[in-house]
Symmetry: C2
Subunit: 147 residues, 2 copies
């Protein structure tokens, strides 16, 4: 269920499997994007994935990166951290909700240890009548380098 301790190789395999199950062809471009996501701890943006790949795949387009990300989103195999004033950031290693600590200065994003929000989520559902499906918990501040 929880993939947090998967090796990059295993995680890559999982993502490939899920895309195949969605009747997607595994092209060199898609493989390359998945590979970056399975190996990145730094929560890359679409643009940074593209920049990293264009060295080895000179014709790789940013549109293809976005399209691949969208396939993964539909398959539930990537976590998207939305920002209105910056590029979105992606976590392919742990595609389920978990807290993030984000530097407002340099944009660094790190994963602290998990918190169990299940009890709180249940309380929120009782109180609001919502059926809660997911959540987002971000802490913002300055990383040790930027302080």
């Amino acid at each position: 269920m929880n993939s947090s301790h998967n090796s990059p190789e295993k995680r890559l395999k999982e993502m490939l499997e899920k895309l195949k199950e969605s009747d997607c062809r595994i092209t060199p471009q898609r493989y390359a994007v998945l590979n970056v996501l399975a190996n990145s701890f730094e929560h890359p943006s679409a643009e940074s994935i593209h920049l990293e790949l264009i060295e080895n795949y000179p014709t790789m387009s940013l549109a293809t990166v976005y399209k691949t990300i969208n396939l993964l989103k539909r398959a539930g195999e990537i976590l998207e951290l939305e920002f209105s004033d910056l590029s979105n950031r992606y976590d392919g290693k742990k595609p389920y909700p978990h807290p993030h600590v984000i530097c407002s200065q340099c944009g660094k994003i790190v994963d602290p240890s998990h918190l169990n929000l299940e009890e709180i989520t249940n309380k929120m559902m009782e109180e609001t009548g919502f059926k809660i499906l997911t959540h987002r918990l971000d802490f913002y501040g300055l990383c040790s380098d930027c302080q």
Copy 2:
């Protein structure tokens, strides 16, 4: 410190005061935007504030709404909920971090009772070396109408 139980009138006064302290002129447009924010529970977007105001202020521009919101942001008198694929939403009644429960279908946003994340925040600071200044906690799901 905590303005959560302020009346709209009191909250409006507070915001006006803070803008004056920042050497801003209180124009009819700015007053109107603040007034909407002091009275809205529904976490309006810039566009919905504009739509609400344009009835009484037919020349009111969306740019002015955004500019006023930015003044309030700088003064710490408004909480901005960022979304990458939708308009941002604003809370002028409670400009400090607090959890939100958000309907993924209709966009309704409600404030459940507060959680005290202080202890968790301290733990995160210890663990990551960040100086954490603020946070965001959103629960996403379907409201009772949309289920």
